[in-house]
Subunit: 341 residues, 2 copies
């Protein structure tokens, strides 16, 4: 066995020479070894150990703190992440944009405060270059915890807990979109327009409530019922509203999944849509609006595009060439008219 070598930090070229392989082969082994025959992998690994070589990516990471990985943190339990198509679309946009930047997406989720210590340790461990966090709830400690980790971060959507932090966000014009939905129902001559609201710890849901009240300043509180953005909760809220105000002739629902639940209840009760009750959703989620009967009129937001935009802002935060810090972005919404209103 050759003698151990001491002196300056060994190069990849030295590893390749010691292992008797090309620099390209040594590089592939150091970067995971894909496509290299096992005996060569072993030779290179032995040379790495003998020389005490620090692989480029680890060295680069030590110097520039670049790990080539970005954490996507979703503040929801895993059953919601896997069942609400909103997350799939947002993650798809993020995934494509990160791939374009050759950065690995690692997905984490936070069910509640019991997970905070572990997440803080992970973020503090220097394993990711940046973080994208969404579905942040008001009065949640998570935004502050992410901010204190000092990892460059972009939020998806605003939250009361995040509003005093110097963290840029990407959000859609929830309030303006809601106004347009309700004005559309008014323009159809609807007189008793109800609202099925989302969870009251999510700013997106609260903004949509505000948009409803912008148009219907004196709306009867009995015309508002609350859900939690799941289809089941939309069905329950629709039942409630029909009990309280059987004269309602329009409903603006805070997301498409709840609208699908509301449409199901209306059909079961023999209420005709849109003749008796016109229904407008929010999101324009392809997998939902395609399958409702009748097809759902809704407020379109570009969920996948917002995911891509979050990555673009993050890449500007990571860019150390010294440009100005990126500002938050509010993306536009647009009413899409289909059969339900």
């Amino acid at each position: 066995m050759p003698e151990p070598i001491t002196g300056p930090r060994p190069t990849l070229e030295a590893v390749a020479a010691r292992a008797g392989v090309s620099r390209a082969t040594a590089s592939r082994v150091v970067n995971g070894g894909a496509g290299v025959r096992a005996p060569l992998v072993d030779k290179v690994r032995r040379a790495v150990e003998e020389l005490g070589y620090v692989p480029n990516h680890a060295a680069r990471s030590l110097v520039t703190r670049r790990n080539g990985a970005v954490a996507v943190i979703i503040a929801e339990p895993e059953f919601r992440i896997f069942s609400d198509p909103f997350f799939e679309q947002q993650v798809r946009g993020i995934s494509r944009e990160l791939t374009a930047h050759d950065s690995q997406l690692v997905l984490l989720w936070v069910e509640g405060p019991g997970d905070h210590d572990r997440i803080a340790r992970y973020l503090g461990g220097g394993h990711v270059d940046g973080a994208l966090a969404f579905s942040l709830h008001n009065d949640d400690e998570l935004p502050a915890l992410i901010d204190r980790s000092r990892i460059p971060t972009v939020f998806g959507g605003r939250s009361r807990a995040g509003k005093d932090l110097a963290v840029p966000y990407v959000d859609c014009d929830n309030r303006g979109g809601a106004r347009e939905a309700v004005r559309h129902l008014v323009s159809l001559g609807r007189r008793h327009i109800a609202h099925i609201a989302g969870p009251d710890d999510l700013m997106a849901a609260l903004d949509r409530v505000d948009g409803y009240h912008d148009v219907l300043i004196d709306a009867d509180p009995a015309l508002t019922a609350q859900g939690d953005f799941t289809e089941e909760s939309g069905a329950r809220a629709m039942h409630e509203l029909l009990e309280r105000r059987p004269d309602l002739d329009g409903v603006f629902v805070s997301n498409d999944l709840m609208a699908a639940g509301a449409l199901r209840v209306l059909a079961e009760r023999g209420v005709r849509v849109p003749e008796d009750v016109a229904v407008v959703g929010f999101d324009d989620m392809a997998s939902v609006v395609r399958s409702t009967v009748p097809a759902l009129t809704t407020v379109h937001q570009d969920i996948e595009g917002m995911g891509r935009l979050m990555v673009k802002l993050l890449m500007r935060l990571l860019d150390e060439s010294g440009g100005p810090a990126p500002a938050s972005v509010i993306t536009p919404t647009a009413l899409v008219r289909r059969a339900s209103a």
Copy 2:
């Protein structure tokens, strides 16, 4: 400003003393800073910098290579991960067990060979203590790539590409379960039993085909059609089978999602289930079998439990106290009789 201190590695106690805070506060700041007021966070951070303190978790990571994080790698595009409830259940089991070990789950997925270099770099970067990989396809380079990263790994399900690697796996008794499903159809007096198979690059699907042929040694090849484990593909395969063999009176379907698609087609064509055609699925996926009409007879496998078991095997691989390497595990299956057969 106090003079920089040199000498042995500074302790957390030294940081706390220099910052003028309690050890507990210093510890919280070092671990992310959750719940500590900003001025104190700044004091502690300054002390950390001045002393050149290496936080415990980073020090532990340097010494033991423990990062407190485990990668879950799914070899499927993200739309399948988010739409097939199988992955949610498996990830749920993994997530709960990792939480019990205070280890952070980071989820990655691999759409194809284009992602391999990036994944190899990530796994080679020392960011995770271990990996759990599932939905591995035959002839895929991924298992070898993961193995070469030298990260302790457990596979979910067998694959041809993984079979020569010293990587333990957790799988269910796919072949035995399939035999039981088909025997049940035979015991109901069915004479022309078809099979809707899953993708032929997944061992689980191939094992279920083998189980079908174990019982029906001379089955007409026209009685087998192939899907890709999605509901749509199950519907397409059912159409095909009804064209080819309108006399079929039983179908064993390789997973519940495809069985749901098959039941939909049978209903559309006015074929009564189970009177005309009896149907048996595989998986016993709560979210699917609850919603089919009629309720689906199927082969139960404990998907969540298999996820937990994968973590337990991984923890034994990570345990350096020198016990024997864990062996692979095949978990039992059981037929669950409902209305469809």
